[in-house]
């Protein structure tokens, strides 16, 4: 009986979202720690007794799942950056330029009822996502957030430079994030819709730098916006619907 139980446990070894268990090694990427003022603001909301509904739009993170579920919240995970590399999204505009089909993207992703979420974690998504998808995604997120719901996003300043690495963010404390560089993955793999993803091959590149006015315009439908300046050439933005 003990051997059966042991072999059962073997199947589940690896990084874990179980309380008290250590996470496995990073996937070849360096780990950096950073303090997040935006997360600290959110932590007050997350500490509430009420069960919240949280959407994480970053890379799938066992840490985030553990952190949130331990506190009784429901977490939804959807890696939009990977989803945006789906080759079937590529289409041509009237001038024949290659663009991404934002309507198809929103038909395949972020399909949730209106006003479902209390918190949406965007992390650095707007900086690395294709230009054509950013506004439609923010519009969809607005409709998915409850009134009073919060969104956390990070924006690089121009000092970060065009080669600013793309990180995945793991919550490790009420105001602390662990950042892991998203490594270049050369293998071709099939995505959730069955099509082949290849765009991760060179890693994700910074697409643009938003200045404060751009950010305010991007979130103009929201009720309020709060900026937190950090030392690492990143502005944290907390917006409230």
């Amino acid at each position: 009986m003990a051997s059966v139980a042991n072999s059962f446990m073997k199947l589940f070894r690896g990084s874990s979202a179980d309380p008290g268990q250590a996470t496995g090694p990073a996937q070849g990427g360096q780990r950096l720690s950073r303090r997040s003022s935006g997360l600290a603001e959110l932590a007050r909301l997350l500490a509430s007794e009420e069960s919240l509904c949280v959407l994480d739009l970053g890379s799938t993170s066992p840490n985030n799942i553990r952190y949130l579920t331990e506190r009784g919240h429901k977490i939804y995970s959807e890696d939009l950056l990977v989803a945006s590399t789906d080759p079937s999204l590529v289409t041509k505009d009237e001038q024949g330029n290659l663009i991404l089909d934002s309507k198809k993207f929103l038909a395949d992703n972020l399909v949730y009822p209106a006003a479902q979420f209390d918190i949406v974690l965007c992390w650095n998504l707007p900086d690395y996502m294709d230009e054509s998808l950013v506004k439609p995604v923010v519009g969809r997120v607005w409709s998915m957030l409850k009134p009073g719901g919060m969104l956390l996003a990070f924006f690089h300043t121009k000092d970060a430079g065009p080669d600013a690495p793309c990180y995945r963010y793991h919550i490790v404390g009420t105001d602390t994030l662990e950042m892991r560089h998203i490594e270049a993955r050369r293998e071709v793999r099939k995505g959730p819709s069955g099509v082949v993803h290849t765009a991760v091959g060179g890693g994700f590149r910074l697409q643009r730098v938003f200045n404060n006015r751009h950010i305010e315009n991007l979130f103009r439908d929201f009720a309020s916006i709060k900026f937190f300046l950090a030392r690492d050439n990143v502005r944290e933005v907390l917006v409230v619907r």
Binding site: L11, F12, Q27, T69, S77, Y112, S193
Partner: protein
């Protein structure tokens, strides 16, 4: 992870395609294609690296190394290995997700004491065979709705 060496596991090899309902009372390793539902109450399901499952799965433990499009209800644990591509909701007591795994859906942790409901996530098909082994019953095999358009809060239909 390699194919488990334990003799308790029933195997569905990589060249096997099953459409319908799978149910049984022994551990199951799927490295082929399954479309429908998988019911292994009290047992373990492993979807191997070549496995492609479009089904709601219900088991004591679920390990995904390949591709799963469907909801997971695991009474004890669910694990997504780094090669996993999983689209659907997970309801379980413990979940582990390796870095590199792709997951799209909801995680609902049912703490011990609040037992995960083990009722089927889909209505049983007529003619379902349940035995001491793993049984497959032929179904229509048709799917309703795509993964992307199905709200993740509702059971998926296959």
């Amino acid at each position: 992870m390699n194919t488990p060496k334990t003799p308790e596991f029933a195997h569905i090899g990589r060249s096997v395609i099953i459409k319908g309902e799978l149910s049984g009372s022994e551990d199951l390793y799927v490295d082929g294609q399954v479309e429908g539902t998988i019911e292994l109450q009290g047992n373990i399901l492993i979807i191997g690296p070549n496995g492609q499952v479009r089904a709601n799965v219900n088991a004591k433990g679920v390990v995904v190394e390949g591709k799963l499009d469907g909801n997971i209800r695991a009474t004890e644990r669910a694990a997504l290995k780094k090669s996993a591509i999983a689209v659907g909701d997970i309801v379980t007591q413990r979940v582990s997700i390796e870095d590199g795994a792709y997951f799209k859906g909801r995680v609902d942790i049912q703490r011990e004491g609040a037992k995960v409901e083990t009722k089927s996530t889909a209505a049983p098909a007529a003619g379902t065979i349940a035995s001491s082994g793993v049984a497959a019953s032929a179904g229509s095999g048709s799917s309703a709705g795509s993964a992307g358009n199905t709200p993740v809060t509702e059971p998926k239909k296959f």
